[in-house]
């Protein structure tokens, strides 16, 4: 009886190890089954995101109308497979990889709002570092006047290093201004402003139009 149990366990281990190493997608499907709480984004979230897109568009046109590059045309639609399960990073895995031409560093959007960038690519999937990851940093501009700032990710992302006394207000749009990302891609809106601890710069707390845990599909820039 004991020997039979031992054989059964060894077979279980071999099968599980094979699935873990060679077919991890079964694990993601099982996890999606366990994680039923990941709801699809509501209409309210979509409208709020679209509102941010329009605000960013307006800010771009007002501040750099003459120098505006053409909007990027090509995006790859991808489904979100799984999410990083711990609190050290904030990453999502999408079902588009080398096979459809995804490259590292490309922008990832949801409803036209920047949610992250491609960190690692696999044959048929790609790992996306979201703007809520503590190590995500990207140069941005704030408001219609386009004040320079640095977006720093984390559980509570901020726009930091804004010139002191810059008239940044609650509701101002924060949009990407980084090499490698489409210029003017909206990220968030300012929800509060404060002075940096060293009293040299202004900082802005940000609010987002979407719930990162509710995102089911994203667009990856080609």
């Amino acid at each position: 009886m004991r020997k039979r149990n031992g054989s059964f366990l060894v077979v279980c281990i071999a099968v599980l190890a094979a699935i873990v190493f060679f077919e991890p997608s079964y694990g993601w499907k099982f996890r999606a089954f366990l994680d039923r709480s990941a709801a699809s984004p509501s209409d309210g979230q979509n409208l709020a995101a679209q509102n941010q897109v329009l605000m960013a568009e307006l800010a771009k046109l007002q501040s750099v109308a003459a120098q505006m590059p053409d909007a990027p045309s090509g995006y790859i639609r991808a489904m979100v497979y799984s999410r990083y399960p711990m609190n050290f990073k904030n990453e999502i895995l999408a079902d588009a990889g080398e096979n459809v031409g995804v490259f590292v560093g490309k922008a990832v959007t949801f409803q036209g709002v920047l949610v992250g960038s491609v960190e690692k690519i696999f044959k048929d999937s790609s790992l996306i570092q979201t703007v809520f990851d503590g190590t995500f940093k990207v140069p941005v501009r704030v408001g219609n006047a386009g004040y320079d700032a640095l977006f720093t990710g984390g559980s509570y992302p901020k726009a930091v290093s804004i010139r002191k006394n810059a008239p940044v207000h609650v509701g101002d749009i924060v949009y990407a201004a980084a090499p490698g990302l489409p210029y003017g891609l909206p990220i968030a809106v300012v929800s509060a402003t404060s002075t940096s601890p060293d009293d040299l710069f202004e900082e802005a707390e940000l609010s987002f139009a979407y719930d990162i845990n509710g995102i089911q599909t994203v667009l990856i820039a080609k």
């Binding site: 991890p24 997608s25 709480s37 711990m86 895995l93």
Partner: protein
């Protein structure tokens, strides 16, 4: 085999709770704490099966990562060294869970752990409670 089934059920509950909390923005490593507690009540082969089920469910990318390696190897290390101290199992369990969480936090994100320990303390507290709740019934089951 009945005990292994109970262990599997407990692990699935821990995983479901972990994902449910994560979707609300609260990150708790309940599965890791559960596996460490399992190290005191299951034999090595049963433990490896449960560890592989946890890895199968938690891994979020088609590649190995340091956090998954720690999640898999630490409970096995606890199992192999569980007879060193000869203390009460619940004390050993508390020590092992605390050590496991310290290891994973320091390896993954030592700087933010030092800057803001509240997330760690919340995670550790939840892990200790859940791990102790797992240990007591399974340990008594083994003794009877």
């Amino acid at each position: 085999m009945l005990k292994l089934s109970a262990g599997l059920l407990i692990l699935l509950i821990a995983l479901a709770l972990q994902f449910w909390f994560a979707s609300s923005g609260i990150y708790l490593n309940l599965a890791f704490a559960t596996l460490i507690s399992f190290a005191f009540v299951f034999d090595i082969w049963e433990l490896i099966v449960l560890v592989l089920i946890a890895v199968f469910t938690i891994n979020w990318q088609p590649a190995a990562s340091p956090e998954i390696l720690i999640l898999a190897l630490f409970p096995v290390a606890v199992h192999l060294s569980r007879n060193i101290l000869h203390w009460q199992p619940w004390i050993e369990n508390i020590l092992a869970v605390t050590l496991g969480f310290l290891v994973i936090y320091f390896v993954m994100d030592g700087r933010s752990f030092l800057n803001g320990p509240y997330a760690f303390l919340t995670d550790l507290g939840a892990g200790l409670i859940f791990g102790s709740l797992v240990l007591f019934p399974l340990y008594h089951w083994e003794r009877t």
